[in-house]
């Protein structure tokens, strides 16, 4: 069926090319039927890409090793679900997933908006199709997943480190995020091309941006959890270039989600918002370039390929295209109002934006420096962890504080007396927390202590917001406390959903500070019966067992764990030797993790080396509060869902606005 897959991709390329040419012509000449035809071409492109993806998925499920890609990333013993996730285990398959998600998003975006603001949406079709042309071209010409060969008896198998549930979900979520940023980008460019620089494009893309941003955030947390349990180095984020590649567009999109509120509330920052959307999209393409070109050395990247220059060309086109449009439309993007005070909520949003973009660009510099230094001087100078940690503290801690200050300050302006009143409660909570933590010994890490103090301030400010809002709601409607609480959230979903997301960020900050600033480590070679001790734990090595499974030979070290003399039971850590093609078996460390769900602390055991005499070299960490990072993911998702939930009252208000203005919600 490889021919069908290839044919489907050629059809996708043809449809997308048509959508670009016909869509641009229809938009420029205001041809209604041709615009509809271009839109349909984009929708049909999703259908044909779905067929191509179906063919490849069927190839994996049937172990059709006549497909080179399937043979290189799967084998007969691979478990059922991993056979499917092997789809995106390599360059070509993951590019196809990219295209599938892109055409899916594009089809949905143009279909949902087909009767809204047509003069704007008509330009969105060619922009989205243009991005899809690039990817379908790569899949047809440069990196086809449908190359065939004489079928070998068995395939090479999937990289063992990818055989993990988190790695099954991590790439699709990341792609949903990366690709999702193409939709607000296309609407922003559509707004510039059509000259409709009013709020329409923001209204149309608000949910798309939030969905992409949520997916990117969840994708990164899934990847961090995968690194934590699977890679076996004792951490979850290594400032690896490919990890940073996902963080940068997330930061730019976070800045956009905040600054867009200033445009909605005050009619300000129109240029800035368009710049942020373009930046987020270009960074998502840059991230894809980093992952796929082989220019950086990363465990997350695909092997070196000749696909890099194509992505570089796409980045250049996107940057030049968006910059030219923004400059061309500058006169239409002038703000209608000005910042009234530097002590106001919009000013806080502005500071937040500056810090987020500064952090984003600092990371970009750290990622780009090795590439630039190699290009200029011939030697790659790698930017290490201290660089990133330093700037995370410099920009991240003030950002954390601003999350608490923002909700306490009114829009437009705030007096010092008013500020004093609203800040007193959270400030007292923060100071008391800081003093208590200092007395408990948290002063060993000043950044950690500051992070906890600021976190307490933010949590107190958010709690105060909920209490005040619920009380005011009760006074208005005489509802019960729970009724008023839920009614408050239901009537202000974006605001209170946003606060829940802020709680998630605070949990994340506490988890990162705890596990990085207050962790402890011990290492040593143990024979049976010997033990290592740290932070009150005692880990005693009891011996090895071996097990043979269809996929791997597994060796496990059994450990007895106690804390302060009290037995906590046993745990295992070991290595898997995977049976895959090649001269050497692939070996992975299977770390042992014991979680204390009450304190969020982990005892983390890495069997660095298993010796022939039965002794094992262990590295053992105690990571306080690390589990708050994963809890943050759940809270983050909850907050995003609240913010995303449709608000009928707002929909009605917008419908009135656009009907009044004669911008038909249901046009011809």
């Amino acid at each position: 069926m490889a021919e069908l897959g290839r044919a489907a991709l050629v059809v996708t390329l043809g449809l997308c090319l048509y959508a670009v040419v016909a869509g641009s012509y229809a938009a420029a000449r205001r041809r209604r039927r041709l615009a509809g035809s271009a839109r349909n071409a984009l929708i049909a492109a999703f259908g044909s890409t779905l067929v191509a993806a179906g063919v490849l998925a069927a190839g994996f499920l049937r172990s059709d090793f006549s497909l080179t890609y399937v043979a290189n990333h799967s084998n007969r013993t691979l478990g059922g679900v991993y056979k499917l996730s092997a789809f995106w285990g390599g360059q070509e398959g993951s590019l196809l997933l990219w295209l599938l998600i892109l055409t899916g998003y594009a089809a949905l975006a143009v279909w949902v908006n087909r009767n809204r603001a047509r003069d704007l949406v008509v330009w969105v079709t060619p922009v989205l199709a243009g991005i899809a042309v690039c990817f379908s071209f790569l899949l047809v010409v440069v990196a086809s997943p449908f190359a065939v060969q004489a079928a070998p008896l068995d395939g090479a198998g999937l990289n063992p480190s990818l055989q993990n549930p988190y790695m099954m979900a991590h790439p699709p979520f990341l792609y949903l995020g990366y690709v999702g940023l193409a939709v607000p980008f296309a609407f922003a460019m559509g707004a510039l091309l059509s000259g409709r620089t009013d709020e329409r494009w923001i209204v149309a893309t608000r949910r798309w941006t939030l969905i992409a941003w949520t997916a990117l955030g969840i994708g990164q947390l899934l990847g961090a959890h995968w690194a934590y349990v699977e890679v076996g180095w004792g951490g979850y984020y290594a400032w690896d270039p490919v990890e940073n590649a996902a963080l940068m567009p997330f930061l730019a999109a976070t800045a956009f989600l905040h600054s867009v509120m200033i445009q909605e509330k005050r009619g300000m920052l129109k240029v800035w918002n368009v710049v942020l959307v373009a930046l987020a999209f270009c960074l998502s393409i840059f991230g894809t370039f980093l992952t796929r070109s082989g220019v950086v050395n990363s465990i997350h990247s695909f092997s070196e390929s000749d696909i890099g220059p194509w992505f570089l060309a796409l980045i250049v086109i996107a940057v030049v295209f968006s910059t030219t449009l923004i400059i061309w439309r500058l006169p239409l993007l002038r703000s209608t109002t000005r910042l009234e005070s530097l002590v106001s909520r919009e000013a806080v949003f502005l500071y937040n934006n500056l810090l987020l973009v500064a952090l984003c660009l600092t990371i970009l510099w750290g990622v780009a420096w090795p590439i630039l230094s190699e290009a200029v001087r011939g030697t790659s100078v790698v930017v290490g962890r201290p660089y990133y940690d330093f700037f995370l503290r410099i920009f991240g801690l003030p950002l954390l504080l601003l999350m608490g200050i923002g909700p306490l300050i009114a829009w437009r302006r705030a007096s010092l007396r008013g500020l004093g009143r609203t800040f007193t409660g959270p400030a007292i909570v923060a100071v008391v927390t800081g003093i208590v933590l200092l007395l408990l010994g948290a002063g060993s890490s000043i950044p950690g202590l500051i992070a906890y103090t600021f976190s307490a301030f933010v949590l107190a400010a958010i709690a105060l917001e909920f209490v005040r809002g619920t009380r005011a709601r009760r006074a208005l409607s005489s509802e019960s406390w729970p009724g008023a609480f839920f009614s408050l959230i239901g009537r202000n979903r974006r605001r209170y959903g946003g606060y829940v997301v802020h709680v998630a960020i605070v949990l994340l900050a506490i988890g990162i500070a705890g596990s990085n600033s207050y962790d402890s480590v011990v290492e040593g070679k143990l024979a049976v019966g010997q033990s290592l001790a740290l932070s009150g734990y005692r880990v005693t090595y009891q011996g090895l067992t071996e097990r043979d499974t269809p996929h791997a030979a597994e060796v496990r070290a059994h450990l007895l764990v106690s804390r302060n003399g009290k037995s906590l039971g046993t745990m295992e850590a070991g290595k898997n030797s995977y049976k895959i093609a090649g001269p050497d078996p692939q070996v992975s460390s299977e770390v042992g993790i014991r979680t204390n769900y009450l304190t969020g602390e982990d005892l983390f055991v890495i069997p660095e080396q298993i010796n022939d005499d039965g002794s094992v070299y262990f590295r053992i960490f105690v990571k306080p509060l690390v589990n708050l990072i994963w809890l943050a993911g759940i809270v983050f998702l909850l907050g995003s869902v609240i913010a995303l939930w449709p608000d009928a009252r707002e929909q009605r208000r917008l419908a009135v606005r656009y009907d009044e203005a004669g911008s038909p919600v249901r046009g011809r």
């Binding site: 021919e3 069908l4 059809v11 349909n40 049909a44 409709r196 606005r657």
Partner: protein, 111 residues
Amino acid sequence: MSTALILGAVLAVVCVVLVALPFLREPDPLSDELDALTPERRRRLALSEERDRALAALKELEADHRAGRVNDEDYRISIGPLRREAAEALRALDGDARGKGEQAGRRDGGD
């Protein structure tokens, strides 16, 4: 010809039909022009956005005051300009609508 190629051809035909659908549905339309915002509609939309912004700001201030985020003094200072802004936005929108009505009336009278 293999099954795969036949399926590929069917896919291509379905896609072509879908792309041609707007022309097949309306081979000879009365108008093939897209809706567009005239400068007049654009201005009205800008005024509507101004009005919504001003009313939302008023509502927000009331809510902030009720919730205790804004004290009485700040509330008194802010409420006046906000009410003025909202009134101006509403007046501008009304004036625009009246102007349009008069224009339409003159056009009707002239016909």
